[in-house]
């Protein structure tokens, strides 16, 4: 995907989010670090245009909740999460760049629960590349990209990498 394709996908996803959540008052967007964060902000911005008001956005670092800590050679780099609003009773739209095994989302959902009790959690992924290892699905998908397990899907965003693109690397 190139820059314009990413923007079109996000625009379509914004419409789908509003369709699925007619009472937009209770919506909040939480991006999973690193690339999920600018995506959450873009999505929140687009939904804001459709709904006529702004939405709270937060950042989630899931490193402390990973399920593979005991298998790694060393500890992962961890960062703080920034959720300055209460999630209890809200509809949380979790946003990430790539949905792959589903383990990141599981960790994210565990962590969100430590901040409060959302009414519901929905998940938006820019790319779904298949190969799920857990029963997790995305509610809103930018593009389905079939891949081989050894391939990497790289999402680059202007806010982080200076340009917008989605590429498959072998």
């Amino acid at each position: 995907m190139d820059g314009p394709a990413i923007e079109r996908a996000l625009a379509r996803m914004a419409h789908e989010i509003v369709e699925a959540n007619p009472e937009t008052d209770a919506l909040v967007f939480i991006g999973i670090r690193t690339h999920g964060v600018p995506l959450a902000q873009r999505l929140a911005g687009k939904v804001a245009q459709l709904a006529g008001h702004a939405f709270d956005t937060g950042e989630l670092d899931i490193s402390m909740h990973r399920d593979d800590l005991a298998l790694r050679d060393g500890p992962p780099k961890v960062g703080a999460s920034y959720i300055s609003f209460d999630v209890t009773g809200k509809t949380v739209v979790l946003v990430d760049d790539v949905l792959f095994t589903g383990r990141t989302i599981r960790a994210a959902m565990d962590e969100i629960n430590d901040f409060g009790r959302p009414r519901r959690i929905q998940f938006a992924a820019l790319v779904d590349r298949g190969h799920r290892e857990l029963p997790i699905r995305a509610d809103f998908v930018g593009k389905n990209v079939p891949t081989a397990p050894a391939e990497q899907v790289r999402v680059r965003l202007t806010e982080v990498d200076g340009r917008d693109e989605v590429v498959i690397e072998r």
Partner: protein, 312 residues
Amino acid sequence: MNPPAWKHKHLLGIQELSPDEINVVLDTAAAFKEVGERPIKKVPSLRGKTMVNLFIEPSTRTRTSFELAAKRLSADVININTQASSFAKGETLKDTALNLQALNADIIVIRHSAAGTPHFLSRFLRASVINAGDGAHEHPTQALLDAFTIREKKGRIAGLNVTILGDILYSRVARSNIWLLTKLGANVTLAGPSTLVPRVFEQFGCRVTHDIEVAIRDADVINLLRIQHKRQRKTMFPSIGEYAAMFGLNKERFARTKPDALIMHPGPINRGVEIDSDVADCSRSVILEQVTNGLAVRMAVLFLCAGGKHED
């Protein structure tokens, strides 16, 4: 995938850490500090791991700090109280440690009055050994939390003038701070009576002075050490009164410090001895924040040393 920035299984001292490694701990501590501000102050990172607080030299503050840090990481904690334990029956430290290992302890946090005890344990234990203070040698988590506090308040450590005031010779807090601050580029001044602050410390890259005015005049940070007049110190200075008169941070001296100088103390404070009561409670004193930061730093240390499979 990048090679891990932290490769140590043990934390025995600051002396063996590089500046980069120190910064990894401080950055990680910042993340864990945020956990302490959530409604549910717990993460599952060390779930299923067992940490033992082996405090041969008693301490309530450091021990509870480590205990809480471990519990917030979802680890299980055992506290060994030496009075009630087999120590009283004459079991050697080595045997005690091996017994704990037989219970599959993953982390042993050790505080002991004999320097070198954590090094000794690390030679035969599979578990991670964390030094919570070994005699006069090091107290690495204290120096790390002190550095975290300084960095949070001042934005940096390099180039700051840091004065450590008090009994340097017998202080593990002083030594760990000396290593850390010099590694990160601070200008360190050590001050106190000549019997407790000998010249040899100049070889560690510090300025040594026995004049409190010189020590505090340009200091950005003043770290006060607790002064004790125990039996072994009686030949070192005549009395607490004389010490307080010459080196105590009283109101008059405090007024001569820089207006934004931080006042720090590892605790517990002796009000009226090394620090005036009012000075301890003033707005520039970060003594209580040190305690909060201590929890985050210890979470970071436990996470880094015990999270992941270290083949140390």
